[in-house]
Amino acid sequence: MEAIRNAFDFSDFPRLDLTIAGLGILFLLIFPALPHSSFAMATMIQFLMFSLYGMGWNTIGGYAGQVDLGKAKYVGIGAYTTAVLMIRWDIPFWFSMPLGMVFAILWSFVIGYPLFRLKGHYFAIATIATSLVVKDIFEVWDFVGGARGLELPLKGHFPDFLYLQFREDYYYYYIILGFFVLGVLYINAFRHSRLGYQLRAIKDNEDVARSLGIDVHWSKIKAYAVATAFVAMVGSFHACYNFAIEPEDTMSLDLSILIAMMAMLGGAGSLWGPIIGAAILVPMKSYLGSWLGGQAGLAGLDLVIYGAIIMLIAAVQPRGVWGIVEAVRARKRGSHAAA
């Protein structure tokens, strides 16, 4: 019961934030009714997907402070579960998605148990390595289509809500928007939960955390499982939305880094951070990518820009855009109190 109350408890944010958030939700709700290009619609769907990836990453990477650069393998596990179950056994999205989450979580326990014996950079490197291994396995595994990947069969009639097959993008849009709203509420409950507080204590100081009865290793594994569930859920959606998946687009290192970067740019360890990060990076990525793709000799410049962003975050404000907002607010409070 308290978890549900916590999910709707936004009282620690000032009214201005809630007004902006409310206007944002309103905009998201009416966006399909506004005049827009199909490219803009695709970008919006990407924005919602990456917000969810980022929110998931934020539980382990932000609140618990464990920089995870291997989230993409769980996108893949979600996507492949949905695709394989549909192709082989005709199982609809709404059943394969939770199953994909379960598989991903099980795998996250197997991998998380040894992984969380490592700390800091060693942990980050190990997450990359384990993710690349999974991708390599999928690339040579014939059962899941190898490197060519899988194509989802068309069910023939539109709209199909069971298998998530639509001609018009706005169906996909509203479904992922629904996940997005649930995701925000879940994370809001999460950060108010015992685990949420304990993870922040772990990020502060693991010795102190253990002296307060916190099983640090197990808490990290739990947070990792939550992050995994989020990412796998969106992976399943990705499979239906794209109609085709391959290891390169669901499990690449690029995707893992992009997920982490969204959250870090917006503000790791804050509720709005991943959403802000996705709102900045996703449009930049798709518009810059499509523009640069057409310019000979400029392809790859977007990667240079990502690199610059990472350096900027590290040097200026490790807590991202949201960190800047909070710093400005703290200064205002300070000068107000002094006056």
């Binding site: 308290e2 916590n6 108010h192 939960s193 015992r194 507080y197 304990q198 922040r200 204590a201 990020k203 502060d204 100081n205 010795d207 102190v208 955390a209 253990r210 002296s211 307060l212 009865g213 916190i214 099983d215 640090v216 360890g269 807590r319």
Partner: protein
């Protein structure tokens, strides 16, 4: 039955015997001081009791239960709280949130944890710092926050590692009062290590002295500071009185 029994505990780091066959008991509702010169093995002994690292040999019994093999977080859950010498004030938890983490040990409800936290801050007289970040507070306040966090986990035994370090004399006095209240009003037993001997003398019912990892004295504070062995450990051969002679040890010993 004693609350805590340390039986023949030794801890070896490589070639160094940090604790050598140390035994003592701590009765329920007792304040026990643990003193000794630098490098005597006080913090090591603390860490062994708290399960922070395993002992090389010996047993530790808490409330009739063998906790020798338990990990630090398991020991904490049984009711042994501790403070750290260096309390790192980083991160993004506010003061009240910090204390709530302690309260979450026994309650999964946020509203309940918040109530417990506010009550502990009130008890320690630092309610007005609740919304601040730890790093904004002076050292004396930070130490109180650490105490409040430990109290919020409802311990039966509190291990205090140098809580007076870095405090000025009036702050030390305040800390002694606070610890006395924690002991008397909450019924929590205390095991106190301290460089500031005045503090241990003022607080402790009984004192044990470590030197080079071995226990060299155990008794009430007045007796212990007159013990020639203890004076020798703190001040060297020169000041050690001959047997039966009242030496200058008492007063100087307090400021070691």
């Amino acid at each position: 039955m004693p609350l805590l029994e340390v039986q023949h505990v030794s801890k070896v780091f490589g070639g160094l015997r940090a604790n050598d066959d140390v035994s003592f008991v701590l009765e329920a509702n007792e304040v026990l001081g643990l003193i000794g010169p630098n490098g005597a093995g006080k913090t090591t002994l603390f860490n062994c009791i708290a399960g922070y690292f395993p002992v090389t040999s010996g047993r530790i019994i808490f409330d009739g239960r063998d906790i020798t093999e338990l990990r630090d977080y398991q020991v904490a859950r049984l009711g042994i709280a501790r403070t750290f010498q260096i309390f790192q004030a980083s991160g993004d938890l506010s003061v009240v949130e910090n204390v709530m983490v302690g309260a979450f040990m026994h309650s999964s409800s946020r509203s309940r944890a918040r109530l417990i936290a506010e009550e502990c801050l009130e008890f320690l007289g630092i309610s007005d710092s609740a919304g601040h970040m730890l790093s904004e507070l002076p050292v004396a306040r930070q130490k109180r926050v650490a105490l409040a966090t430990a109290l919020a986990s409802h311990p039966r035994l509190l291990l205090l590692d140098e809580v007076a370090a870095g405090l000025n004399p009036s702050e030390i006095e305040g800390m002694v009062d606070t610890l006395r209240r924690i002991h008397q009003e909450r019924g929590i037993s205390l095991l106190v290590t301290e460089h500031v001997l005045e503090m241990v003398m003022a607080l402790a019912d009984r004192v044990i002295v470590l030197e080079s990892g071995r226990k060299i004295a155990d008794g009430n504070p007045e007796q212990v500071v007159k013990d020639p062995e203890v004076i020798r450990a703190y001040l060297g051969e020169h000041f050690a009185p001959q047997a039966g002679q009242a030496g200058p040890g008492g007063e100087e010993g307090r400021h070691a």
